[in-house]
């Protein structure tokens, strides 16, 4: 996939910052998207739109805290297709895999800046940054997980298994 980066370098961007609990009284994606990252940066949507970004780059332990799936759902509904961070909190990690939101563990986020145009080649475990001309190797995603991702998420994966049985 190809995309443009929006970057927030701080570590521990937790689920309360991604989607504050005060908005969890409704669960429709449009409502969640509207308030996504609001407490981290009230100008998130404006900035994202200005550079047409669809890939979020963030600091370590991204998505810590609550198990609320509304966190990855709000990012997905806001048009984020992939998140790159040095590490992810585990429930956020599995929630993203389950809803088919691509997440990539990559240590050196200094290699990316706001507005960078990149290409992610999952099969070759590689990212190419067209804005800087650099190429990076990324960790291989375990095949157990790529099976879920390539099914389009856990629901399709489970449906397939159920129908097979």
């Amino acid at each position: 996939m190809n995309g443009v980066i929006i970057k927030y370098s701080q570590n521990n961007i937790n689920t309360d910052l991604i989607i504050p609990a005060r908005y969890l009284n409704k669960s429709d994606p449009e409502h969640l998207a509207k308030h996504c990252l609001e407490d981290l940066d009230s100008k998130f949507h404006k900035k994202k739109k200005a550079i047409n970004a669809n890939i979020l780059v963030a600091g370590s332990n991204f998505g810590s805290g609550s198990s609320r799936e509304q966190a990855p759902l709000s990012l997905k509904a806001a048009g984020i297709k992939c998140i790159i961070a040095p590490s992810f909190a585990r429930i956020f990690f599995r929630n993203s895999i389950n809803i088919g939101l691509l997440i990539i563990e990559f240590e050196d986020i200094a290699k990316f800046s706001n507005g960078d145009n990149i290409e992610i080649k999952l099969k070759r475990s590689m990212i190419k940054n067209y804005s800087t001309g650099n190429k990076f190797k990324i960790k291989r995603i375990p095949s157990f997980l790529t099976e879920i991702i390539s099914a389009g998420g856990l629901v399709n994966f489970a449906r397939k298994k159920i129908l097979e049985n």
């Binding site: 805290g65 198990s67 609320r68 909190a89 585990r90 429930i91 599995r94 929630n95």
Partner: protein, 424 residues
């Protein structure tokens, strides 16, 4: 090479009874839990999965629904979400649906009702599901999609975690509780110090710790990023199970030659009551340092799945008795369950709280996540016995949350600034 208790429970729940740390497994689930925030999405997912098939719930007895976060319904939207749970419970004859009046904060209610036992594999669409590791179960938080799939298929995918063993030795100082041990631990290893790992709590201190304190410690394993917290069950566990009427269970223990990713030992002789400063649970300081800063507080919360049990209320009442809540602050006390509320009433704790000028709320997660029942204004500071002090979590984004045990919270409610009962 031997196995840890976590590895043993997980592999026992697979078809081929195999697997060690680092391997992916598809496991059979004993119990699943969801609340008013996470169940509506899980139910939608479930319906999507079974659409066009003859399938239904894999087992209606294994599903627990606890509308406890924004209840009693705080607004129309919350009421609509709770209605989804109620309708679903009726449609599928789910007996473990707890309506307001019978519901309590899920992680206190579920062990109290005997719905989790040693050796169980328990998943909950709530991050603090790791609480039940205190009983020697493998319990972990998952998302709504995991839960929707689990209630349809009875299965969930996991990577078997490596375990970090924590050994607590020495003697506990006065006013030091399980809350202080876990805050101290997170202060040492950081909020991502155990990401993806199991935290196994051991040592003579743990052996002598009450069940309430064990629940508190396992509850906050997630605050270090852990997949689960776990304590090998013993006589204390069995006596608790006996009282809750749980008879069928399997007690596992870690082998003497089990492989641990790390072993960390703490000498408790030097551990004081801890306070976590805004905005992360790892920002801990001992109370003797905190006291010198005279941090004035606007709101005290005593409650939550971390510290709203009878033992917590007993400690708070013993400190608040014959004292008044400082006139500059409000003190909100939340018993975790209806049963705890009733017991606190009979023991006279509720009267102590009301006479001191505190308010006592019906069981709810409410203020812990900034839902309702105690929201902070800009620049306000709260001292809370809850588990997270993230930016803006309890209200305005410019408010601040400090975390402590119930004794520190009660003493501070009297003085108006963060202090210890030892200094009053």
């Amino acid at each position: 090479m031997g196995l840890t208790i976590t590895e043993k429970i997980l592999r026992e729940h697979t078809q081929d009874k195999k697997g060690v740390a680092g391997e992916f497994i598809l496991a059979d689930i004993d119990k699943c839990l969801a609340n008013d925030i996470t169940a509506p999405i899980a139910i939608k997912i479930f319906e999507e999965i079974i659409k066009g098939t003859e399938k239904t719930l894999f087992n209606s007895e294994s599903i627990i629904l606890t509308p406890d976060h924004f209840t009693p319904n705080k607004d129309v939207e919350s009421a609509e979400q709770c209605k989804i749970l109620k309708t679903f419970a009726h449609k599928y004859n789910i007996s473990n649906y707890f309506e307001t009046g019978r519901v309590g904060i899920e992680h206190c209610l579920i062990p109290e009702k005997g719905l989790v036992a040693p050796g169980d594999l328990f998943i909950g669409a709530d991050s603090h599901t790791c609480t039940y590791g205190a009983l020697g179960a493998f319990a972990t938080g998952v998302g709504s999609t995991d839960l929707g799939v689990a209630i349809a298929t009875g299965k969930c995918w996991f990577k078997i975690p490596e375990t970090i063993k924590f050994i607590y030795s020495g003697k506990l100082n006065k006013w030091v509780s399980g809350k202080d041990l876990i805050l101290y631990t997170i202060g040492q290893i950081g909020v991502d110090g155990a990401t993806y790992k199991a935290m196994e709590f051991t040592g003579e201190i743990i052996q002598n710790l009450s069940m309430a304190n064990r629940f508190t410690m396992c509850n906050m394993a997630i605050e270090a990023g852990a997949k689960n917290g776990i304590i090998v069950p013993d006589k204390t566990t069995e006596s608790y199970l006996h009282k809750s009427g749980i008879k069928n269970y399997k007690m596992y223990e870690s082998d003497f030659d089990a492989e641990y990713e790390d072993i960390i030992e703490f000498d408790c002789n030097s551990i004081e009551p801890q306070v976590a400063y805004p905005h992360l649970p790892e920002n801990t300081k001992p109370i003797s340092e905190v006291y010198n800063e005279k941090i004035h507080i606007d709101q005290i919360i005593i409650g939550s799945c971390t510290n709203g049990r009878l033992e917590d209320l007993r400690i708070a009442a013993s400190i608040l008795k014959n004292h008044n809540i400082n006139s500059n602050l409000r003190c909100i006390i939340i018993p975790c369950t209806q049963d705890i509320y009733l017991k606190a009433l009979r023991k006279g704790y509720i009267e102590v709280f009301l006479k001191s000028g505190a308010i006592v709320s019906t069981p709810t997660c409410g203020p812990c996540l900034g839902g309702h029942m105690g929201i902070l204004a800009a620049k306000e500071k709260a001292l809370s016995t809850t588990n997270r002090n993230f930016l803006g979590r309890m209200g305005h984004i410019e408010s601040e949350i400090y975390l402590s045990n119930p004794a520190i919270a009660a003493a501070s409610a009297i003085s108006g600034y963060i202090t210890s009962p030892a200094y009053i």
